[in-house]
């Protein structure tokens, strides 16, 4: 906090008292070990947020289903085609062909390797897509798989309007939603925090931080 007077920091501490991690890492206050490109020495990160973890439930359920699908197939096979099931488990099914148990192992490994990649890439996309609120600006790092990263930023001084949206059953149930921030640039651009946890808390904290930044008091 080299560029801020002590009283400003006290005001920030009043709004954000201590470091905390909520919603499975979807919302981190005073995140440790976080660095971004072109971060100034005096710049301190107050909040790191990303989409609520529950928004990952779609691909997680899909991955679990795909993972257990072969076992379901075996159970169904055992129930309706018991002869084939017996031949498959004993290896008799491949008798007379060049297909060996090594090939079976290769197919199984490839199948689960695809699932690992599916889970891994989806997790990375969620994990690396972050919104940062620093003492100077807000930054959105959009991680696009295979095509690069898009970084948008806007100074806190330029914020003129903050809108919060919570639509739908899931957002209401798990307390997440969108926060739209309008900045007073020539383009009047909008900064959209998508599906972030605790949007009403986030909106009020952002409002206080902007007020501290611009006026020096909440």
């Amino acid at each position: 906090m080299l560029d801020q007077p002590a009283n400003k920091m006290d005001l920030v501490r009043h709004v954000l008292p201590r470091n905390d991690s909520r919603h499975w890492g979807s919302l981190v206050i005073y995140p440790q070990n976080v660095h971004f490109a072109f971060q100034k020495k005096s710049e301190k990160i107050y909040i790191l947020t990303r989409r609520h973890f529950i928004t990952n439930s779609g691909w997680i359920l899909k991955a679990i289903f795909i993972m257990i699908l072969p076992f379901i197939a075996l159970i169904v096979m055992d129930a309706f085609l018991p002869d084939y099931f017996l031949q498959l488990t004993t290896g008799e099914l491949f008798a007379g062909s060049n297909f060996s148990m090594i090939n079976v192992l290769a197919v199984i490994l490839l199948y689960y390797s695809f699932i690992i990649t599916y889970v891994w890439t989806n997790y990375i996309v969620w994990f690396q897509n972050v919104y940062l609120i620093t003492n100077e600006r807000m930054i959105h790092t959009e991680f696009r798989l295979m095509s690069g990263t898009k970084v948008s930023e806007a100074p806190l001084d330029n914020i003129i309007d903050i809108t919060q949206e919570t639509y739908g059953l899931f957002p209401a149930l798990f307390n997440y939603g969108n926060v739209k921030v309008q900045t007073a640039t020539a383009m009047k651009s909008r900064f959209n925090f998508k599906q972030i946890p605790d949007p009403s808390w986030f909106r009020s904290v952002l409002y206080e931080l902007v007020k501290i930044r611009t006026e020096g008091e909440p």
Binding site: F36, L93, N98, S100, S113, I116, I124, Q128, M146
Partner: protein
């Protein structure tokens, strides 16, 4: 049922299937390498351990894929 397994392992069609199999794996490895590089270059949004762990999972997956190629290619 044997016909299916013979297609996969014997004759010209078997070789073609193996070629397709290996090609898919190589594309998969290429995708993994690109994503690992992307993670490596991305901003660190967590501890160094988590960052490296994510990269490591990618490398483990590549090792599994190389193992698959060896299983198919080597006449065991």
């Amino acid at each position: 049922m044997n016909i299916i397994f013979n297609i996969f392992s014997g004759g010209v069609l078997g070789i073609l299937m193996k070629f397709v199999f290996v090609f898919v794996i190589l594309v998969h490895v290429a995708i993994l390498l690109i994503v690992i590089k992307q993670i490596h270059q991305a901003d660190r949004v967590s501890s160094l351990f988590t960052h490296k762990l994510l990269e490591l999972i990618g490398y483990i997956n590549i090792v599994i894929l190389i193992l698959i190629v060896l299983l198919i290619a080597l006449p065991i």
